[in-house]
Amino acid sequence: MPDKIKFTIDGKDCQADPGMTIYEAARASGIYIPVLCHFEGLKPVGSCRICSVRVNGRWMASCTQPVTPGMVIENTSPEVEEHRRAIIEMLFVEGNHFCPACEKSGNCELQALAYRYQIMVPQFPYLFPKKDIEAFPKFLLEHNRCVQCQRCIRAIQTPDGKKIFAMKNRSGRVRINVDRKLAASLSDEEARKAMDICPVGAILKKEVGFRVPIGQRRYDKKPIGSEIEEKR
């Protein structure tokens, strides 16, 4: 068995198996690094940058960066946390996120991160972009809430490996595009998977909204990340 890699997070000595990313190694040590675009089992893409940490003074995305021996990682320093808070706030102002009537409320990772970071009012002005809602046989795609994390692109495929979701346009105009023909063949189960993998309320499987009562939703009792910190 190869030797463990030794490194520190916020001054705490940690160990990881070779090949582990910083995010995975931290998680194994009971240390929470927030993620939004990353999802267990999917290939990380490092697009949202909420998992940013400082390694030996340089910014790195912990979901894509493998651990190397001797790394000195800053995870909860005020500067790192402020950087993350700014990213979360930017995601809020760049979309139209009205939690009060959103069926993902209580199960939404973006909302849960905002609660964890105690964001009351964003420091940036709201952009109120004009976005639409697209309908497909099994689900609705609510572009007002999409954070372009690409989880759906990576996770949802036809049985023969074709992708149903893809990126369209570039930069500020980027949006998720759906292959209408392939989307029409989606099963209920796959539509449910697409909704569950979406960290926000952008993919809505039809007619399931608000089935889980307040009090029993994912983040009603414990803040996001506590499931990792409890293992410490």
Binding site: P100, A101, E103, I133, A135, L140, L204, K206, E207, V208, G209, F210, R211, V212, P213, I214, G215
Partner: protein, 482 residues
């Protein structure tokens, strides 16, 4: 010199409205109007939203009785989901009913104790500095505490059924998302006094006694103030009983003759028209059968007790019999008797809550059903302030394409204007000096109907009172603000 008096905004009501009174050269009232000066546009911006989001989205119209909008929206969505309200599972129907009757109790308690009681306890001319709920708390501590706790009890019922006291998610198309646990049920039934339903029933009944005492001391004012004939409209149960949650639409005229005879509300457009007038954002509904001029009607507690044949709970029925006997069984057209009617309804709500809590279905697990989808649905409910209409159409993609809301307060629009005109004519016409007490009388008349102006224009407002006086050339000559 002719003058225009403006009361803006009207205080101790929910939302933002104003009154203008025009006086002619002799100081006589030439015109008196109640204006609602907010605009919100819910009917437009719900378009495009998925239909199952509607009950949660539209309740944001209001923070006072959001349950009404939540349930009216849900009842319309039941139709769209192919499960008409009569076909819900017993647990779903009873949980929704419990939520609604909890709301009736809290909203009626809020109105009587917090908003209306200062006028009744201290008099219309009392110093505004004490004529408020804080004044009541200082001099009538017991009454104020009961008001607060009755309201809290109703709010706790809402929380147990909808997940939150304000803006919960309990009702979903075709059912509900939770029932009560035995612990939740027992909290309401068995908590030590005063936090149990038996105490609430007693307190609700004692509130009626308080009104009756005030009535016996001041009969002339409470009977004659803004007393005018009108038609009355509400839902009633199929057998004619008072029902806040579901039933058929009934209207009676000022003499008690049925104008709408227990019709299915899915066809409400056949019976109700809406007129727009240039001085208010609030529309003017009317009974088509009687026409725009004569078809206006009242809704709310006074209307409900005029349309129903009986109240299906023993203590409230006994109070109802006494109430009806006062007008020899004829419709009651006295504006300030709406407080009496409201308190009888609060007692009925408390009695029904107890009955529902003792029903085994309330802890059942059959929560939701699905049927053959439709593209249009109407949901009606008796909100605390009166009949509430929600009407939606959806497209093949499950998105809302049309919404029409006729809110309780809107139904009473002509009644406010009528009450304002009568009170202005009686108390302001020809008087050399306009006092704060006179203007408060105008507000008392509006307040009796417990209007919710935010709902009616589908807003939030500040509550200072401003009076402006204009000369006949429209020049501002005086302004007073409190």
């Amino acid at each position: 010199m002719s003058r225009k008096i403006t009361i803006e905004p009207v205080t101790r009501v929910e939302g933002h409205g104003k009154v203008t009174i025009r006086l002619d050269d002799d100081g006589k009232v030439a015109q008196a109007r109640f204006h609602v000066v907010e605009f919100r546009g819910f009917e437009r911006f719900v378009q495009g939203r998925p239909y199952w989001e509607i009950p949660v989205l539209v309740q944001r119209l209001c923070g006072i009785c959001p349950v009404s909008h939540h349930l009216a929206g849900a009842k319309a969505m039941d139709i769209i989901a192919g499960v008409p309200p009569e076909k819900l599972t017993p647990t779903a129907e009873k949980i929704r009913r419990l939520m609604h009757y909890g709301q009736m109790l809290q909203s009626h308690a809020l109105h009587f104790f917090h908003l209306a009681s200062p006028d009744l306890l201290f008099g219309f001319d009392a110093d505004p500095a004490i004529r408020n709920i804080i004044g009541v708390a200082k001099t009538h501590r017991e009454i104020a505490v009961r008001g607060v706790l009755l309201r809290k009890f109703g709010q706790e019922i809402i929380k147990a059924t909808a997940g939150k006291k304000i803006h919960g998610t309990g009702a979903i198309p075709g059912g509900v998302n939770k029932s009560l646990t035995p612990e939740e049920r027992d909290f309401f039934l068995k908590s030590p006094a005063p936090y149990n339903i038996d105490t609430m029933i007693d307190w609700a009944q004692e509130a009626i006694q308080l009104f009756k005492k005030l009535h016996s001391e001041n009969r002339a004012v409470l009977d004659n103030f803004a007393h005018f004939p009108s038609s009355h409209l509400s839902l009633v149960r199929r057998d004619g009983a008072l029902d806040f949650y579901h039933g058929v639409l009934r209207a009676v005229n000022a003499e008690g003759r049925k104008v709408l005879n227990d019709v299915d509300y899915q066809d409400y457009l056949d019976y109700i028209g809406e007129e727009v007038r240039n001085f208010s954002y609030m529309k003017f509904p009317y009974l088509k059968k009687l026409g725009k001029e004569k078809g206006w009607y009242r809704v709310g507690p006074i209307a409900r007790l005029n349309t129903c044949d009986f109240i299906p709970s023993p203590r409230a029925q006994k109070e109802f019999e006494e109430y009806k006997a006062y007008t020899n069984g004829k419709p009651n057209n006295m504006t300030l008797h709406s407080h009496w009617a409201r308190l009888i309804e609060a007692l009925h709500a408390a009695e029904v809550i107890k009955e529902l809590l003792n029903d085994k279905d309330i802890t059942g697990d059959q929560l939701v059903k699905k049927g053959k989808k439709k593209q249009e649905g109407v949901g009606l409910i008796e909100a605390p302030r009166g009949t509430l209409f929600h009407h939606y159409r959806i497209n093949d993609d499950d998105q809302v394409t049309m919404a029409n809301l006729i809110v309780s307060t809107t139904n009473n629009n002509q009644a406010y204007n009528e009450a304002v005109r009568l009170v202005a004519e009686e108390y302001i016409s020809g008087k050399p000096e306009i006092t704060e007490g006179m203007l408060n009388r105008v507000e008392v008349a509006i307040r009796a109907y417990d209007p919710c102006l935010s709902c009616a224009t589908h807003a939030l407002g500040q509550m200072p009172l401003e009076v402006e006086m204009y000369d006949s050339r429209g020049q501002l000559v005086d302004r007073k603000r409190k």
